[in-house]
Chain length 793, copies 2
């Protein structure tokens, strides 16, 4: 039985309650003071406007509730010797988490200049929401956090991700009642159907109902309690209520609820681990109802504030100019009796620290919240065992993702004991042809199973749910606590998590600059079922814009790969899985695709990121007349088919074929670490020859990346231009003018002198397009000359 | 009491059950046949490979369940004379909805070439998922639909949007159990807290548990029934169960559940409308448990198919080449006894049509599903009554969104009786300074209220919930059923609905090309609390990329406006609210902002979309030495401040100031209907002078829009480059090199000859930046010379 699960329910004594309250008051004092003070931190003199910050920024409303949770987590961690982590959903309550971290000492250990004494306290206050200081929200800069609390909705998914494969870890998760209205959070409750009580840790959700969001009551706070209980039971939880505004009574109730919850968790884990099997667990949830802005000003300017939405940010906005506000602030701050809580040197007194655990047991010092510290190298096998043999390019076909499935299966198998690798995806692992992994592990599933089900496994490490939000949230939590993973997703629907990946990139960008944060494994996307092959689904499933979205973000974090075949997919995935602190986007097809490069060639090509495919071109060492460039599997096919047509019809034309795997190579070196210098770029694409670029996604992305290049005015890009429907693969490229015939026409139109010289060839290409249109209307399939095409030089 | 609410619960007779089953069998036959057949539609001869489509595409699994729902909705619509609409969540079941529309005749009325006879039936089959035919999903092309079913998650939000302010309408909504796992759907259940039983219609959710998604069981189907009931009760619903696989028993149970549900709805509406007040209603939900792929092949190649995930798409994939599959297909299709259902001419027999309602009562013919038919002009007042007076530019300050609030208040008031205008937003109407609207209406809220609450109103037309997904989904449903609205959102967090707006743009793009679909009101975004003014929130709230996202989409649909002040905001919003079939994105600040243009000037400027601000420049009719361009309120301020600095320090430099309101003006005329010709563009920006462009968002967007222009190599763009944090407004622009001092330095660096001539000025600018850095570290506020700046020429 794990220590985390040790039941040890002793109600706190009056003395202990007194020290818990002292800790809570100290945290409340420090939280409120961060918003207001830049001097006189201990209120050793009467408060004056000169002590007040020039701009009052921050969120008070949620802070006392978070302080209560932190205090009581401290208690149970100390009492039970737990390893615990807390995800602070209402992360706008930054002052609270900073206050507690400072109290327990983890803050000063991380930032020695903010020492646990009066000068440090003043610095703690001054830096908060101050230019050059620390953000107003819980953020990467906050010790103990894996969760930026600015964009609400993802706390519970992050908590589950952290708990997976961490059997000895308790992950508490405070969910604000505003956040609880979001879709991702509403779906996250069902994560408990995927949590294995044997191999995973426990998640303890604490639903904090303080009644209001920015300007409105919250939906959940206004449900009658039986209805809320029904909802939580329907989510698979056993609710435990803590309600009140009298601190002593709430401390007692909270301590009892925490003990009850942890005893229940201990029993669930004991049953599963010692007795095996059993029903799906009904995990506890704590419902904490306390007033918004609790212990703050009850009324300001005649309006109720405590217990209302008016306490959300800064309850007394006019302290600089309004003496009554200043008086109220001083009264409020002094109501915590700071002189009892801190010595004259500013250090917290012993009573305040009585509940605080030791060392890495402190929430602000948990290595799980700085997951890079725990990260181990992923055991990645030699690729040779998985690569497809390629003697001649373009003659054999493989489904690239199926080939990758072999590699992932081995990784799954080799991490079977360590359990630090997970694959997530919305119900599409098999559809995306990665099903080899099921030979090594199953799909996590704790609910009922039927005989007809396949691959469901209480201990499985493939996570499938029809929610991209949960896939993303679970994986983020898993990675940030020091593990590895990959998210396979339909290309179009990864936009569902645009906003989440924004936040993760921001997290990584910031944490990379913090020397104390150890690098974590990259967040790896495999986007498949892509825009060009939506034969079953059509227009709604056609959107290649995630690449554009990601490339707007911090270049030190984002990487985008478009491997054109099976071996290049193996190579870039291997690279992505070894990398740290990146977001790697890999776009690759699942449909049969020609093999162009052997593994060795693929490695070299992927390492370069972009290169000339000499075997496909006709330049023969001279300067080419035209460059045919491609990025993506389908554009590569069309460019090679176009190159073959040019070879046949215009044998004297010197054609260079360039394939781009790493999209960021196209950017200037100054704009991205992978970017090419102009010298490299001109060497590859020439400075003065027409470049016909067939790109997987929106064509203007290539212009956005390459606009500053010497030869940019010669760059002509074809790509997806929102001409989609349910149709054949080749009709899709024709509709978007990315087809081989159009590319040949583009070459003829762009190479000086060819327009008249090759007018007949151009007409033949136009005729082929007409032939396609007629054929497809009659047969519903692609032209035989297209369907049966293969490369020959 | 509305007709929709008339109770009329009579259990169906055996004869009626027989006709209901005939309708259902006919729909099942037509659905299955669409996936397979391109000839021999009535099976008048033995099935041969030549009758089979060359590519088998589509989704069978959900179709029999949707057919059951359609049949039973027909029954109650006919029996009760309801006006009804149905949102088909599992919209991949396109074959089903098409089949039913064809049966009821609405399909042939919409598409006369697909007549309700044998030739039309053959066309119906052949066109399905066929190149040049119709999509495999429910789509704009589908009569009776307001909901594309490709990307799951939004059905219930759409249904609520449709029901708002439609008191006589019943909106049924089939929710697939796969879809039910998504975040947006999970949150949508709480929409019932916002539905006014007096002024809104009813939503009847039908949760269709067929047990499986693509490859997995679904979470909700594997909950024990009491747990599922608790969940649905917790969501505020009263569950009614229909479970089975015996058609007769299921028909009886479904008819009874429909009657029960409609009786309950009638009672709720009667109580609210006739008796007033009352508790929040507990609306019914039907839980329909039937096998996936019900009535299809039980086993294929020895594997169970009916009732499993294997029935998801095409249950018999090998009919072309496998005689046993072909035999099974024929047996399956003949099991519906088509000869009893259709006459020799292919027309459905009377029994099949017995349940089908008349005229616009038919689900495929509801005008609500073609909302443009019902759309009325929005009563928009003269802007003069709301505009701010501007005698001199840059001397007075207003909060633009607060000024807009006045206009919106009037629109709210003037639609008080008509009730066809709604404002949605995630808890931010007041925070975004639009609170004037609360003088005209309240915030929709059916849950408990407390004395301290403000503006909550059972009949309110402002919708606030902390879920961008619900705001978007409600508004889409509202607009597509013929009403008007506006979504005000934090700029960064509108990315949460990236994927939803994709789908809405795709919907509009397609429906614009369908002559029978009448134009609907545009979807209007007001993005405020933007990237430059996140003083309270910092980096997590800083993202201007939604404009980039939207500009990737169909140019016939998307419009992007960045009004620089209050009067321009009024003008573009007025324009947006009058427009049809667009997605208008308006980015505007809520913080005090200088007034630059009078209303008349604003109108002219916004109509042009981009123009020279002569009063701000120094070109005096000649050719300028440099163009300072700006788009967005903060960049406009910095450009004008830079222009003023240049005027003072380099009085001989001819500076042109250009402001861009309509971003799509920058695109080539061929790429967007608002795009400028090169002649226009060069006239505005010159073809050969340096252009320093200060842009609100990611700078490379401007390059992506303008890369093909003659003077593109002279274009130098400043914008947001992910350098964010919690800091002052001016520090934000300095961090991103968008500040006035940097812009002056850019001018000096780019105008030939200035570098040496104006070296002193350049140094003064660099010194000012240093002064800023020192000042902000010391004071935490902006330099007085910046804070107190105003325009003087």
């Amino acid at each position: 039985m794990s220590k985390a699960a040790q039941p040890d329910a002793t109600a706190p004594t009056d003395d202990e309650l007194r020290t818990l309250d002292a800790h809570w008051r100290a945290a409340n004092y420090l939280a409120a003071a961060q918003i207001y003070l830049m001097a006189n931190p201990l209120l050793t003199e009467p408060l004056k406007p000169g002590h007040i910050k020039p701009r009052l920024l921050g969120h008070w409303g949620t802070s006392p509730g978070l302080n209560l949770v932190y205090t009581h987590l401290n208690r149970v961690i100390s009492a039970r010797g737990l390893d615990a982590l807390c995800v602070w959903g209402p992360g706008h309550g930054g002052p609270s988490v900073l206050a507690n971290s400072w109290l327990e000492g983890s803050y000063s250990e991380t930032y020695p200049d903010v020492s646990r004494d009066a000068p440090g306290m003043e610095r703690l206050f001054r830096q908060f929401s101050f230019p050059g200081g620390v953000p107003s929200h819980v953020a990467p800069e906050t010790p103990g956090s894996i969760h930026e609390g600015g964009e609400l909705g993802y706390s519970l998914a992050h908590a589950y991700g952290a708990a997976l494969d961490n059997p000895d870890l308790l992950v508490a998760c405070v969910i604000g009642d505003g956040e609880a209205e979001t879709g991702p959070l509403a779906a996250s409750w069902h994560s408990n159907k995927f949590l294995d009580p044997v191999h995973d840790g426990a998640v303890l959700p604490i639903l904090h109902l303080n009644g209001y969001k920015i300007a409105n009551p919250t939906v959940l706070s206004r449900l009658p309690e039986p209805e809320l209980d029904a909802l939580l039971r329907g989510y698979g939880h056993e609710p435990l209520h803590v309600t009140g505004d009298d601190p002593q009574q709430v401390h007692r109730a909270m301590a009892a609820a925490m003990d009850d919850a942890l005893d229940r968790i201990a029993r669930i884990q004991h049953t599963a681990r010692e007795e095996g099997g059993g029903e799906r667990a009904r995990w506890p949830v704590i419902v904490l109802r306390t007033p918004k802005g609790w212990t703050g000003p009850a009324e300001v300017d005649g309006e109720p504030v405590e217990g209302t939405w008016r306490a959300h940010q800064v309850p007394l906005p006019g302290v600089q100019e309004n003496p009554e506000h200043l008086r109220q602030l001083e009264e409020w701050l002094r109501s915590y009796r700071p002189e009892e809580l801190f010595g004259p040197d500013g250090r917290p007194v012993a009573d305040v620290l009585a509940c605080v655990p030791e060392g890495t047991k402190r929430l602000g010092a948990s290595p799980h919240a700085n997951g890079g510290l725990l990260l181990r190298e992923l055991p990645l096998p030699a690729l040779a065992g998985f690569a497809v043999p390629v003697d001649k390019p373009g003659t054999t076909l493989h489904e690239p993702t199926r080939v990758l499935g072999g590699l992932l299966e081995r990784v799954m198998r080799d991490t079977g004991e360590r359990r630090d690798f997970r694959l997530v995806g919305p119900d599409e692992t098999a559809s995306n042809r990665l099903e080899a992994v099921f030979e090594a592990t199953g799909k996590a599933w704790q609910a009922e199973t039927l005989p007809v089900d396949e691959h469901l496994d209480r201990h499985g490490r493939v996570m499938e749910i029809l929610s991209e939000h949960l896939c993303q949230g679970w994986l983020e939590g898993y990675l940030l606590t020091g593990r590895h993973g990959l998210f396979s997703c339909y290309e179009a629907f990864v936009h569902i998590v645009d906003s989440m990946v924004n936040q993760h990139i921001k997290w990584l960008k910031t944490s990379r600059r913090l020397p104390w944060r150890a690098p974590v494994a990259s967040l790896n996307y495999l986007l498949t079922s892509h825009v060009w092959r939506q034969d079953h689904n059509g227009f709604s499933h056609q959107d290649p814009g995630f690449v554009d979205h990601v490339l707007n973000k911090s270049p030190e974090v984002v990487r985008v790969y478009l491997p054109p075949d099976a071996n290049t997919l193996l190579s870039v995935t291997d690279h992505a899985l070894r990398s740290r602190d990146y977001v790697n986007v890999i776009v690759a097809g699942k449909q049969p695709c020609f093999d162009w490069l052997s593994l060795d060639q693929a490695r070299v090509h992927c390492a370069r990121g972009a290169g000339i495919w000499e075997w496909a071109g006709t330049e023969n060492g001279g300067t080419p007349d035209v460059v045919l460039a491609c990025a993506g599997d389908v554009p590569t096919l069309e460019v090679l088919a176009a190159a073959q047509l040019l070879r046949r019809h215009l044998p004297d034309l010197a054609v260079r074929v360039v394939n781009v795997v790493d999209m960021t190579r196209l950017m200037p070196r100054e704009d991205h670490p992978h970017g090419m210098t102009d010298f490299e770029f001109d060497g590859l694409f020439t400075a003065d020859r027409p470049v016909i670029f067939a790109y997987h996604g929106y064509p203007w992305l290539i212009h956005r990346l390459a606009y500053s290049r010497t030869g940019h005015h010669n760059l002509h890009v074809r790509g997806y231009k929102e001409s989609g429907t349910t149709t054949t693969p080749f009709d899709m490229v024709v509709r978007n003018d990315l087809d081989r015939y159009r590319l040949v026409m583009d070459v003829i139109d762009r190479v000086p002198g060819l327009a008249t010289q090759a007018a007949g060839v151009r007409q033949a290409m136009a005729d082929a397009r007409t032939r396609h249109h007629d054929w497809i209307r009659a047969h519903g399939t692609d032209l035989p000359e297209v369907a049966d095409w293969s490369w020959h030089s």
